[in-house]
Symmetry: C2
């Protein structure tokens, strides 16, 4: 077995992306659950700048930031299940969309903290982002990268899981008008590695309700 | 000659990164100066999401976002002057630092708009970021990537050029205590492709003074 460890927390969709990628590559690793309310020395030692999960430790060397970890995994084990396309132009498009989604992270995240007064504005803001992703990024494809789940799907699927959780908790409907994105999200959730590595919506709802003292 | 066009504006350090990378690779291209106050149809057609420069057009296909363009250039012309390291771990570190710097973009940018009241707070905020980059990213190396200018240098050097301009305009001293970063920046400015592709500090100061109606 490789000297490969993943430091994470079970409810982080950023961590789940990495778990999915490692399983797609068929790479065995040791998973170490951290406690973000009392961070381990291991986490502080290996991610001294951000002190966040996920951290992938490979032969004692730390790789941080979930999308950078995904690229690292793809470059280190290139033989099995390509996560990013090989073609430079297709790669650039995949990176564009993950950057675009990543740049909206705080907007997505803010939904769970929105009040009655700001709710509608927030929903419209997120909907506009989703429509752009649906129209320009996904189009009529099965997955963002074509017929198989790839880099953008892993990045965005985990975001969407989180967004669905926020929808349930805040009792709002954000993406029901994005029919193509919804159909894609259903396909994403049916992929075996996604089923095996992402916590269920109910588990996440319970976790975030507790965290934000809702309900 | 390749069917390669770069849409930019002369004062954008994001565009200058791309110019440097293309010259490092020895690739000939046609440069098209845009006018951001009256954006061209070409720009709107090829970057419909952000409507920003730089846009690299290769065989009619658009690549956007300056760091994604840099990676595209490195992957498309891999033979000459590697911009990113080949080793996956070293690559992950380079991407970590460019992401870290990119995430601070709005903080850097805000210096030029700061008021007398917020000036000190802003300077301390930026200084803390610079100290982190200096200590954990640069260390005692000649360039971020070692002996030769690479991905992180191109990304951060162009930021620093901009920060120096903001220093001059706002009559503040932000990074004089970062002696290793200063020495690195002097080395960066002496690299021939940097000299040839970045506007001078004076030209940029004049441009931004006019833009922000200062002085």
């Amino acid at each position: 077995m490789e000297d490969l460890k993943l430091i994470g927390v079970w409810y982080s969709t950023f961590v789940c992306r990495v778990k999915c990628a490692l399983q797609l590559k068929g790479v065995k690793y040791e998973y170490i659950e951290d406690d973000l309310s009392n961070k381990s020395d291991l986490l502080l030692q290996y991610n001294p700048i951000h002190k966040k999960v996920p951290v992938l430790l490979h032969g004692g060397k730390p790789i941080v930031e979930s999308l950078i970890i995904l690229e690292y995994i793809d470059e280190t084990w290139p033989e099995r299940y390509p996560i990013l396309p090989k073609d430079p132009y297709e790669r650039s498009k995949a990176k564009f969309w993950t950057k675009f989604m990543g740049d909206q992270e705080s907007t997505f995240w803010s939904l769970i903290k929105t009040t009655e007064e700001t709710k509608e504005k927030k929903i419209n803001e997120i909907l506009e982002i989703l429509k752009t992703i649906e129209e320009h990024g996904l189009g009529d494809k099965k997955f963002f990268s074509g017929d198989d789940m790839g880099f953008v799907d892993l990045a965005f699927g985990t975001f969407m899981r989180w967004l669905k959780v926020a929808e349930v908790i805040k009792e709002v409907k954000v993406f029901e008008t994005c029919t193509r994105l919804q159909a894609w999200f259903e396909r994403f959730n049916e992929v075996p590695v996604v089923k095996e590595n992402l916590p269920s919506q109910d588990e996440l709802v319970a976790h975030y309700k507790l965290k934000f003292c809702i309900g």
